[in-house]
Amino acid sequence: MTKRRTWVYFIPYGLWLALFVIAPVALIIYQSFFDLGQHFTLTNYNTYFRSATYLKMTLNSVWYAFLITLFTGLISYPTAYFIHQLKHRQFWLLLVILPTWINILLKAYAFIGIFSQAGLANQFLTFIGIGPQQILFTNASFIFVATYIQIPFMILPIYNALDDLNPAFVNASKDLGASTWQTFRHVIFPLTLPGVKAGVQAVFIPSLSLFMLTRLIGGNKVITLGTAIEEHFLTTMNWGMGSTIGVVLIVAMIVVMLLTGDQKTKGGTPR
């Protein structure tokens, strides 16, 4: 009855979908078929898939993103688990969220200071007798800072999954004779896996495109897909090639989404 008049409300949202979701994605795919001379061509893809440099860069980028995701996960799961057992967990969770409100560039900037030649990290290394090292502008420093930045985004979904877990399952498991570790291994972890997957989604993809960190912390030694795109768009102005890398990044994103997406749960829903 009222349907006819209310579709007007959809117009702004519909326009947004068309102009800022569908059009840009279509444009970046379209652009990837143009070379510097604005000719329609497959050259960009040809160059990309035949060039050892581009392929190596892609592999590198995926490898670094994998490492960042792995370290983030290893640090975040126990953190989320322990926080969930605390008394004032809401407060501690807030403390996890708070650093995400500090601009990412300020955090990166802080590490420039900490990792510098005479910085805090090197003072510590000198203090324990190793002596100052070149820390800034290394691959390790890039991975460290990226992991640092991503940790809260991994803790949150895992914490939520733990919070959604019905405590009766844990009690049931213990009732059936499982030890704390067995309960964790066979009940808690499998049931909170969706949280881990959500965390992987939130961390892996951005890690492929953290171009500001590679510039500020990695000292251009690490080139991620994101760095390459930024380079092509804003420095060399080769938008066609940049878009081609962009399409590769979009494909990588879709693959990750499919791998970590909602799989059918065995034997009904876990609720």
């Binding site: 009222t2 349907k3 008049r5 209310t6 579709w7 409300y9 702004p12 949202y13 519909g14 947004w16 979908l17 102009l19 800022f20 840009p24 994605v25 444009l27 970046i28 652009q31 640090i75 126990p78 953190t79 057992q85 807030l94 403390l95 708070l98 650093p99 409100w101 500090i102 601009n103 990412i104 560039l105 300020l106 955090k107 990166a108 900037y109 802080a110 420039i112 200071g113 900490i114 510098s116 005479a118 910085g119 805090l120 640092y148 809260p152 989604q201 993809i205 492929l208 495109s209 500001m212 500020l216 897909l225 994101g226 930024e230 768009f233 804003l234 878009s243 962009g246 979009i250 994103m253």
Partner: protein, 267 residues
Amino acid sequence: MKHKLATAYLILVFIILYAPIIFLIAYSFSQGETMTNYHGFTWRHYQTLFSDARMLAIVANTLLIALLSSLIATLIGTLGALSITRTTKRVTRESLLTLNNVLMVSPDVIIGASFLIFFTMLKIPLGFGTVLMSHIAFEIPIVVLMVLPRLREMSRSLLDAAQDLGATTRQLLTQVIIPFISPGIFAGFFMALTYSLDDFAVTFFVTGNGFSTLSVEIYSRARQGINLEINALSGVMFLFSLLLVAGYYWIQQASQKRRHRKREVAS
């Protein structure tokens, strides 16, 4: 024993999380010029910051963009969430949701690059307008995602009841739906604000030469090396974040208190 280990682990994680921030702010009060060796207390960097007209203008721009884009995104996003729940076909709803989430999962560089192509094709000059539009665009899906669960929580019979009691479509919206989903709308606005203030990559692509936001400014200054004025800026921004958190909690507390008061009156 186990308990102690867990506590030690948590303490370590929180030290790592906060050390860089504290380090950053601590040096904003140092008399030196670099972030090595503390040289004694001074307000000098804050004085420099507050007399830096260019920086102050950029802060104003950033806040203006954040507030304006969040307001508009909240409006459009809420209408979008309403439209999505109104769809009757499952396929339509699923595809709308998928499209909605494209910008949520896309890497910032992709959003930035594709918006840059988009604006260039339409011959829209880069600057305040493009930054504002881009921010609105990437904030809309988060608003939708914050409002949708509230809409889903609202049972069908709640709407039936309002209609049963004589509510027209408009009254349904203003008297039942909006008040019910207002926590979601508020959370959406708040998240949008955070996203806007935090964004660097998208802005970096679409900002052009004449216009700058804080993130972009920090990036270009940080590339030139250490400048303790940035530390002072971090201090100010951290304080601002704390105030935002406090404000958020105060609003939540206040709404709870109101409920309490009602109970006291009743009994």
